[in-house]
């Protein structure tokens, strides 16, 4: 009887254990997700209006919108999107585009056509627009700062010629051989519906993001999330997931927690937390293309503006600039702070693979060959150069420390550089400051005697126009009559080989003059939970990084 009792208890325990295992097993077996959730740090902007934000604010609108020219997620190449073909006229002042037929706007706002292209250019050039490319488009359309919205619209109408519903010619005031880039998804010209504007103008645009993209806008909860649903039978790619949600999560630790807990499926994981993520079974997926560059700049390099130049400042001496470059142990910084996941940068924002796609032969192989001798880590040579320049006893300068989106490690990098410079006898004074204060200083050409850091996307010409132009520019980092002359020529020369030659000459000048302190190229990285996501490929060369979400493959 006792034996029977014991057997019954044993079988009972076994049964309970079996039941628990079954319940656990079924709960662990993940069903395919219906809503793809992505946790990202809040953007600088939280709005449905595409022209009242800068490029980084496009991240949460891109799923619903499309561009004339797309970017291939594997190769980073320009690929047809809403424009099937594009061709520049020999004079470089007009581009003919053939548009894709039969593409519908969401919510039945009609078929995409040439008038929507003109409308997109009107939106980005209107007086209130703060989009990143707004200034460029206004210049191309000949819009003056005193022009009213109506005058601007008229100029856009004159410059954007509608040949027929699916052919449009964009005439520009200046030669614009790189317009293919400006029209692409790397930049800002998104296609929105003219019919919708005519129906309700800005009031309607505030409410929703409406485009032709693979996801249709559902709702925006300011400060919380943006939600989309998929477009069935989309002309380009129908997403596997039914819904897509961008969730704003300010803290890096919380983003990691949401990813590990399975509440989101893709997240922006801080570099400092990536090892923890991997240890918990997450994957860190790098972009296929270089995402951004990181460089340090010398303040006060106003060689083309003599009244702003302080000729006796130490940074004016090329040997000092070379010494400061040679004092930096870039490899140690890359390994210790950036996990070794960097690519060396020879000349600030001159990319060896991406720039040649626009300008063949822009990249000088000598930069690679001579880099070690001229820029490589060599504290003894750095000290000798400083001695030669008359600064054997060193000198004091300000090193600004602040964080920038996407590269919070700038603070650590700055501190590492300070140690390197102290090791060769220099006296950097570390000043923690809000970035906007530094911005005020460099845009007013008053950042003498300081070094500061920036990050940004590759594109040599954009960089030169922003950093190295002496007037009507933005950053005023290093300017020189030699560069001015070539930038002026670039305003008229159309031939891409010739443009490449001019750009390369500027690159040579910057390289051999030690104009700044180029550091690294970096890839964007996405934290992915492999329980839910089988494949996510993104180029990273598009600001905001988390693009091409319509191609995400789910774990079966």
């Amino acid at each position: 009887m006792q034996t029977w009792g014991k057997l019954a208890v044993r079988w009972g325990i076994l049964g309970v254990v079996g039941l628990i295992i079954t319940v656990l097993w079924t709960s662990l077996a993940q069903a395919k997700i219906q809503r793809l959730k992505i946790a990202v740090a809040p953007l600088g902007w939280d709005t449905n209006i595409t022209w009242l934000q800068s490029r980084s604010g496009m991240l949460d609108k891109r799923p619903a919108l499309e561009y004339l020219i797309g970017i291939d997620r594997q190769t980073g190449a320009y690929v047809p999107q809403l424009a099937e073909t594009w061709e520049m006229a020999p004079d470089g002042r007009s581009w003919k585009l053939t548009l894709r037929k039969g593409v519908m706007f969401h919510e039945n706002w009609g078929v995409f056509s040439a008038k929507d292209v003109r409308h997109a250019i009107f939106l980005i050039t209107q007086p209130e627009s703060v989009q990143t490319d707004a200034g460029l488009w206004r210049t191309l359309m000949g819009i003056k700062k005193t022009d009213s919205i109506e005058e601007g619209a008229k100029k856009v109408e004159q410059h954007v010629e509608i040949v027929d519903d699916h052919t449009v010619i964009i005439h520009t005031e200046l030669v614009a051989p790189e317009l293919v880039d400006t029209l692409s998804a790397k930049n800002d010209l998104v296609m929105e519906s003219k019919a919708r504007w005519d129906a309700g103008g800005k009031e309607l645009y505030v409410q929703k993001v409406v485009g032709t993209g693979p996801f249709e806008f559902v709702e925006r909860k300011v400060g919380a999330h943006v939600l989309y649903k998929r477009v069935a039978n989309h002309w380009r790619q129908t997403p596997e997931v039914e819904e897509l949600e961008f969730r704003w999560v300010p803290e890096g630790v919380t983003r990691l927690a949401t990813l590990i807990a399975g509440e989101v499926h893709i997240a922006d994981v801080d570099r400092a937390l990536q090892q923890d993520a991997v240890a918990k079974g997450m994957q860190i997926v790098p972009s296929t293309q270089t995402a951004f560059a990181h460089e340090w700049l010398f303040g006060g390099m106003y060689f083309a503006t003599p009244d702003k130049l302080k000729a006796k400042a130490p940074f004016m001496d090329k040997r000092v600039r070379q010494a400061m470059n040679m004092a930096i142990n870039r490899q140690a910084v890359a390994d210790a702070i950036l996990g070794g996941k960097t690519q060396p940068m020879r000349v600030t924002r001159f990319h060896p693979q991406e720039d040649p796609a626009l300008w063949p032969e822009i990249y000088n192989p000598d930069w690679d060959r001579q880099y070690e001798a001229l820029y490589g880590y060599n504290p003894d040579k750095a000290k000798a150069l400083l001695q030669e320049a008359g600064y054997g006893a060193g000198f004091e300068f300000t090193l600004y420390l602040y964080t920038l989106p996407g590269l919070p490690e700038i603070l650590d990098i700055g501190q590492a550089l300070a140690l390197d410079w102290e090791a060769v006898g220099l006296s950097p004074k570390l000043v923690e400051i809000e970035f906007t204060r530094v911005r005020e200083q460099y845009r007013t050409k008053s950042i003498h005697g300081s070094v500061w850091a920036l990050r940004g996307s590759p594109n040599a010409l954009n960089l030169l126009r922003i950093f190295n132009k002496a007037a009507d520019s933005v950053v005023y980092a290093y300017e020189h009559p030699y560069i001015e002359e070539r930038l002026a020529q670039l305003g008229t020369v159309v031939d891409m080989k010739e443009r490449a030659r001019l750009l390369r000459e500027i690159g040579d000048h910057k390289f051999f003059e030690f104009a700044d302190m180029p550091m690294f190229w970096l890839h964007a990285e996405a934290g992915v939970n492999p329980k839910f996501i089988a494949e996510y490929t993104f180029p990273g060369s598009i600001t905001g990084f988390f693009t091409h979400l319509e191609y995400v493959k789910l774990t079966p």
């Binding site: 809040p42 902007w45 934000q53 919380a224 999560v249 919380t254 927690a257 933005v474 950053v475």
Partner: protein
Amino acid sequence: MQRYIVVRFLQSILALWVMSLIVFCLARVTGNPLDVLLPMEAGPEEYERIAKHWGLDKPWFIPQDWSQPFDTQYATFMGKALRGDFGNSLKWQGYTAMNLVLQRLPATLELAGIALAISVVLALPIGVLSAALKDTAFDNGGKLIALLGQSLPSFWLAIMLMWIFAVILGWLPTSGRGGLTHMILPAISLGWFQVAALMRLVRSAMLDVLDSEFVKLARVKGLAEWKVVWKHCLRNAAIAPLTYFSITAGVLLTGSVVIESVFAWPGTGLLAVDAVRARDFQVVQAIVIVFAAVFILTNLLVDILYAYLDPRIRYQ
């Protein structure tokens, strides 16, 4: 009593006006919003154009042209603010500043309300019993709670709670606003410090009162101990905790910045931080005025409660 309330009300209006002046100036002293909000690529022409469009090219107080004396930033701000319009947000384009604050206020009220409830529900009985059972195991336990509550940084506690209960155990969501489960961790993190502080205050106030002559008399007269403690002592010990409670209410409403940030809770604390970072003057002004109004209103209510609790104040 009526005169007391009217005077306090008029003082509150004056305080609000002074606050508006301070926030107007301080917001602008921090720098130019264009340096935050315009893209890196924006040149001098874009700066000029947008400054004009957003009215940032106008002088703060003294008009350039006296034929248009109200063509200043402050006159524009006050003119609209008096009608409840704090202007359009610079960062959250398409939204008015007040609309944003009102949209986000319920989330903060919800969180602060629960945190406040937790702090009162826990602190009051623990504080009273700790005093009544002085130097017992219960009192020592209460002291330990107070020590931990006041020494653990709220962001650390928040992250620990999140990792234990959301990531490891999977019982609760990590972050965001949703149902009741979403509120538990942020409310505990937010209320934890207040529990400790309020409990200590209740305990020490109760100890003072328990030692009073009238308490001894009540006991001598044979009143039940629970009645002595919970009715007579607590009411007399309430002034100090009440003062702290009014501060706590304000702090919980305005000081939830860290917790809202850790738990991605879309409330006004997070909004305030984002607006300050973006130098979104309009939103900063609207938030500070609303917060100030909440503080002033809470203090006004507490002053009235003082008068109710303490007849000496009423008859002054």
